[in-house]
């Protein structure tokens, strides 16, 4: 009987904690950082956030090349943003170090940089340098399209960053509690079996 009560009072504590979480409007902050980076023209933009949406302010950002050599480092501003000119045409590994053991990274493949910065594009005019009928060179059209695409895609990129930095969902939370209760069942089962065997040995 006492044990039942014992569990009951602990359950009340758990219930209170759960209510607190849910009433806290769920996308609660917690300990995980992410960094998101994209290329626009010759510049790489990065955004750093804690899961839940709070920006990682004044955090160290390190940029490495394919071989692991550090190319440059910088600090995020008060919006968690940091941008730099592409230092070298290579795969970039951007590491965010938010201190206190928080770390995240984002990779930009060489191809993405080439495409965005127009290195690939600049090769094309040499192949067919004659202007297109409209009066604009192929290169200029390409540039225009890229510019407007960048502008149009920016909100979507932002949305993706935000969806990435969402906190845990209710399903995950309840699932986790379910796992723990399941483990409790398994533990009780094994302890119980040990007890029974012990008893049988005694009976024999």
């Amino acid at each position: 009987m006492e044990k039942g009560h014992n569990i009951k009072s602990s359950l009340i504590i758990l219930l209170l904690a759960s209510i607190l979480v849910i009433s806290n409007n769920l996308p609660a902050l917690a300990h995980k950082v992410i960094i998101f980076a994209w290329v626009e023209g010759d510049t790489v933009f990065t955004e750093s956030k804690f899961s839940g949406g709070k920006e990682a302010i004044n955090a160290q950002v390190l940029v490495f090349d394919r071989g692991g050599k550090q190319l440059l480092e910088g600090k995020t501003n008060n919006k968690g943003e940091f941008s730099f000119k592409i230092p070298k045409l290579t795969d970039l590994r951007i590491v965010l170090n938010a201190g206190m053991g928080h770390k995240a990274e984002w990779r930009i493949p060489e191809l993405e940089i080439q495409e965005a910065s127009g290195v690939l594009g600049s090769k094309i005019p040499t192949e067919s340098s004659q202007p297109v009928a409209v009066g604009l060179s192929k290169e200029e059209i390409k540039e225009l399209i890229e510019e407007s695409l960048d502008r149009k895609l920016r909100p979507i990129v932002r949305m993706m960053t935000e969806s990435q930095s969402k906190g845990p969902s209710v399903t995950e939370i309840l699932g986790g509690i379910g796992y723990i209760l399941g483990l409790m069942g398994v533990a009780i089962y094994f302890k119980n079996r040990g007890k029974k065997r012990h008893k049988e040995n005694h009976d024999n």
Partner: protein, 205 residues
Amino acid sequence: MHISEGVLSAPVLVTGAAFAAAGISVGLKKMGYEKIPQVAVLSSAFFVASLIHVPIGPSSVHLILNGINGLLLGWLCFPSILVALALQAILFQFGGITVLGVNTVTMALPGLICYYLFGKLVNREGGLLSLVAAFACGFLSVLFSGILVALSLLFTEQSFMSVAKLIVVAHLPVMIIEGIITLFCVAFLKRVKPEVLGGIYGKGP
């Protein structure tokens, strides 16, 4: 206060895992049949607590609840916290699987220390002193955790003192809130079911 994957060097990870394994084996040995549900409930509470964000202070911090875990469970808080941390790592990507050992030690060891420091005091009949002890238990377990995190970062970050200071300052609001939560939990349990506290110290965890 979860340390992310890929921050710590291998020796630190291995040492943490070894300490955690030792604590867990002691905890599992001491875990009696009737203690299992209580361990599970406190493990769930720890699991959920990390989602409660404390919006005060300069950095992103959340509740930890390792003080009440240690106070009520003693050595059993090692398995309790390990399970909760493993699920947080898998479901929320807090911390990580390789750092599980280190994170378990940084959370569970302070709980255990507070259990030995304040367990007897909390369990005393006297009203005020036991409540003060309960507050100190919640407060100091977070403080000790911060110091342990700074210690494990010793080999990766430049200076121990600056990191420790940073963590402690960031967690000051959490310490106070956890102290108050622990205080209310103890006051509540004392009124409703003093055996929960008394039982442990009566026959050992």
